[in-house]
Symmetry: D2
Subunit: 389 residues, 4 copies
Amino acid sequence: MTDREIRHAELAARYLPDELLERFRERAAGYDRANGFFDEDLAELVAQGYLTLFVPTEFGGPGLSLNEVSRLQQRLAGAAPATALAVNMHLMCTGVVTAMVDRGDRSLTWLFGEVMAGEIFAFGISEPANDWVLQGSNTVAEPQADGGYLLTGVKIFTSLSPVWTRLIVHGLDSSGTEPELVYGFVERDAPGITVSDDWDVLGMRASQSRATILRQVPMRAERVARTMPPGRHPDLLTFAITSNFQLLVGAVYAGVARRALELGAAGLKHRMSAKSGTTYAEIPEYRTRIADAYRDYLAVPAQLDAYSRDFDDLVDHGSRWPQLLVSARINASAAARRATETALLCAGGGGFANGSELSRLFRDAAAGLFHPPSADAARPMFAAALLDD
Amino acid sequence: MTDREIRHAELAARYLPDELLERFRERAAGYDRANGFFDEDLAELVAQGYLTLFVPTEFGGPGLSLNEVSRLQQRLAGAAPATALAVNMHLMCTGVVTAMVDRGDRSLTWLFGEVMAGEIFAFGISEPANDWVLQGSNTVAEPQADGGYLLTGVKIFTSLSPVWTRLIVHGLDSSGTEPELVYGFVERDAPGITVSDDWDVLGMRASQSRATILRQVPMRAERVARTMPPGRHPDLLTFAITSNFQLLVGAVYAGVARRALELGAAGLKHRMSAKSGTTYAEIPEYRTRIADAYRDYLAVPAQLDAYSRDFDDLVDHGSRWPQLLVSARINASAAARRATETALLCAGGGGFANGSELSRLFRDAAAGLFHPPSADAARPMFAAALLDD
Amino acid sequence: MTDREIRHAELAARYLPDELLERFRERAAGYDRANGFFDEDLAELVAQGYLTLFVPTEFGGPGLSLNEVSRLQQRLAGAAPATALAVNMHLMCTGVVTAMVDRGDRSLTWLFGEVMAGEIFAFGISEPANDWVLQGSNTVAEPQADGGYLLTGVKIFTSLSPVWTRLIVHGLDSSGTEPELVYGFVERDAPGITVSDDWDVLGMRASQSRATILRQVPMRAERVARTMPPGRHPDLLTFAITSNFQLLVGAVYAGVARRALELGAAGLKHRMSAKSGTTYAEIPEYRTRIADAYRDYLAVPAQLDAYSRDFDDLVDHGSRWPQLLVSARINASAAARRATETALLCAGGGGFANGSELSRLFRDAAAGLFHPPSADAARPMFAAALLDD
Amino acid sequence: MTDREIRHAELAARYLPDELLERFRERAAGYDRANGFFDEDLAELVAQGYLTLFVPTEFGGPGLSLNEVSRLQQRLAGAAPATALAVNMHLMCTGVVTAMVDRGDRSLTWLFGEVMAGEIFAFGISEPANDWVLQGSNTVAEPQADGGYLLTGVKIFTSLSPVWTRLIVHGLDSSGTEPELVYGFVERDAPGITVSDDWDVLGMRASQSRATILRQVPMRAERVARTMPPGRHPDLLTFAITSNFQLLVGAVYAGVARRALELGAAGLKHRMSAKSGTTYAEIPEYRTRIADAYRDYLAVPAQLDAYSRDFDDLVDHGSRWPQLLVSARINASAAARRATETALLCAGGGGFANGSELSRLFRDAAAGLFHPPSADAARPMFAAALLDD
């Protein structure tokens, strides 16, 4: 059996070689300052085949597992968090279909063909004030005679907004006796799609996660993925979305945390202390500070590894799955915030400059507060796990 | 005896009435975006007599105590953190002299006259890589025949850089057999002063705390405040500086924390939940989140109150004073970071917009990591209190 | 004006001299092991006049303030936490009446005479499953023709159970059209009182806080203190109870925290490291550990000082008072738990022995989780402060 | 491929069926109160074949992996923490040899025969003031002509002291030009072994981890496992010890944390609130409390799973291994302390009784502060990982 860590290292060298990461890191500063999209990064990722990572070999892709992609995304996020967060959305869409195939559902394998053909997928799930998230929608889905739907509503935080060509969306069909949630895909060139130009946020700016306004946008019948009742309802599609979303978003923040610690360490090595006559890297109180943050960080990639490998191995955690997945993502984003704060303490005033990579990571890390479900929105699930039968 | 809280409320109404604060708050967004100095705020503060708060009545000022100014600064910081942080520097200089007078040293009372005449004082103590802070200096002080000095060195984080007219500075005179630290004041129009134009930082931007380069800047003999050996050396001037600095910087972050919690609460009242059919202010998990942050916050103004009143009452905490003062400031800045993070969780994605007051407070709060002594630089002092005799 | 700290030191020397504390500390181990009451401590405290601390000079006592008693209780708790926690109950009863006198209500001054005559007061408020605490009661109060009541119910955690002679209790009179809460005092030799012999708990064992069963126990008419509606109802008696209870219970845990840090420091000085060839007191990671705990601790006595002095000075915090008081007590008990944990880390395996003072403090500190309102019971109050109008 | 979780459930049912655990849990209270050893538990574990879990099938055992044993130990610790912690020591000795076999070193396979024959192994590594732990020893090892040694020294925290028949020990041979560490096994009936009768500690009492005094105790030549230089020195034996020790000790505290949360939940379901008219399980603030603790806990078994599976799969983390292993164990023990504290808050005053399982778990969890390396002793390793080359 090949050592997993060797395999990860090989994949890193193949898909995200050091010199590529260095270019990403340098461009990240400019994208952030200009509030621009990561076009050049994307072009290089496409050239690397990065957007096909999840596509199974039988469909022409490299067939990477969620565990493997999670590691790559951690690595990418260490260089360009917003690039990683945004490309995540495309990767998730492909990962979802791979997960379904692995579990015997081949209904969405058409997506692999489109991915191989260069289509870029994005996520149109989040909506204003919809804390049901996957289990409900404020978007109206009007059924059409041919089995398709017309969708009208607003989707927010649509990463990749300048470039996506396919969007996974959901809406609520209230035309029948019982309301039904509809999941499926719409195309960018369909009529009725407007992308907001309002995007000026604290962090993860290059993701350009603008709102998407849908006005009677057609979802073709062959692109309808699922209909299901709103509310809690076990379904392979939504399970696959949750799994890919939580673990890959977690991977991004794990990468941010890791990079912040590296920058904190570099700061300590760089700073000179008049009092001790050494660099700060030799002052015990600072060593202790970064040691504690590093120890806390270590649990994060471990938790991501454990769950992503369970997922890849088709381990059945049953109703515990959402708890596990969400806790991993929440822990990762908390680690990113703590690690960037620690790193600022280590780097000193120089880290506070807007030109420093660290001050950008600090802002990027704050985005981790907002992915669904938020820490508070998830509390009832964790309480119920212990208290409700 | 007048109720202290009534007195604080009267002072708030007199010096920082609500409508003034509202103007400050509105302008704060613009200063931050434009990376500009708070000229209009300053003009209004001057008009209010805010810059004379500490001047004793015998010198024509209102003679406020440190406890009273601390409360006003908390209030000001709740509207305009950078304005509060910068004007702090002027207030400290006056507060230092007041504290010396209260303890029988009237050697610097000339400063009151200058303050009443409209001079603006600032702090030129912090230097690159000088973690001795008050106890050492990398600035060269060359003694002159008339008892004055010529100063050459770099001072960093000089708040109020566009407007200060007087700067408290220190330097090291190594010309004699034993090195001596010199403290005193220089004037803005003295030769040899250059103010850096490099200022682009994450938060507290309107403070315009640019670096100040000193090249043989004359400190006139009558403006020399102290000479003393470098290292630990009990002295009323440096004690007064430490006290005013730690407690008033702490006040700024206490004010930021308080305001963040208000914004978090406003966010919860504003947001609607599809799941609960109410605002988020009625969802227990969010109520609990902000409740915990508020409970944590309460210790901060209490600690500032306890110590500032002890200071005003001339209570002698002896060698424990620095521990008390520094712990209060560190706790305040930690509370600001935690409160802004909590408030972002409460406000949801809207708080992440660069146009939101909260995202600015989040950046402003991060500045609290850097005031001297940092959490790590202070650790030896706290350890020594328990372990060394 | 006399320096407050000098005054505190004088009171410490007068009421709790070092050698007395040392005897308390030695006996504490025995009381804990034998699950016995602190009879000898109590005799010495009585001899010191400690039980009359709050009695105003006009009634023959020393007339100490809440701030002064808070400091003495911190000191006492550092030697014998359970003794301090139990004698607290008596002190509170007297402090409550003093607070009422200070605010113009002399209706309960008879209590001072009893205290001077040697009666010992205790608290009979807590009841099983009564999370209304002061605002409700499961104890039945039957009104009698003479204005007195007969009380039937169970009171729990009645500290001082072996020795109290007077018990402040409350009960609910449901005989009229509207239920009424009755507050007053019963005497130990009244008929119907049974003290449980069930007491075997984790910590604070010497407090002997056994349950008290009341079966038609007479509260004489002249010992009825108040009747009021159940629920939230502003009243000077209950305000005085809350203030004394929260701040003096907080004082006990502040004292435990402080002592734990001393023991942690002593542990570090005692332990030798083969690796460093020094004591642990010279190893930076351990110094940092105890430094952080000490810094955290400092906020606790400061908060107690701020509020107890406000209380003594009749500062009116209005509806904010309960938040302030409860937060101070919760912070103190959290600090005690954290400090004892830190101290165990510093003391190493030796601290784990049942014979070590530290392992006892660790158990005593855990009692702080249970005083009303608990951290969770208090959360709605803190949330309401920000969210409800 | 069999679902791992199904396999874990099967092993749980086979080796630790519910009714067995229930007996362990009931007896745990008695062992703790009487300060007695878990004789009856041990007899049942022996009967279950639990002491042979790690013995490979080729040597007649069931050949369980570290991941599988980790899960069983979590389960056992949930019922009887001290039993789990003590039997851990025997399991580690066998696990160490299994790990060596898996990596090609069959030099200690004689141990399997002894385990199958009923010998009970224990750990004699910890020594007073030896913070080198595995990398040094204060025990004198005198080389004998036949290749054996005579050992003289003191070993502390020797769990299983009443029953062990084989002890893995190390000592320092300073007879040659270079000092050498010696690792090997001694037999209980060898001359010179005294087991202290001093054992009265806060928690994990049934482990009876008494000190072992060695006075020229012979280690037979064929029981010498290794000689190596003191200090950092890569070696399969010490790597296998570290891995088994950290992960299996971590498993014990993970089990304690999990059980504490169950007891906290049971407490909430049991308690009635007069205020809400429901059980506490329906009060949001308490639900939130236990939800947060549960979410924090989830990372702990995940981290143990990730690393134990990597270990079983022979993944090579190189010099990162010790960081990973130690962080997992420290996190597990912290989770146990936090979970027992949270559970006490949930269970209320009833949990404070010495008769409650929870108050015992709270004391047992405190033992987790002391396993080597302690949190502070480990800080340099984590710092070095980031800062040193």
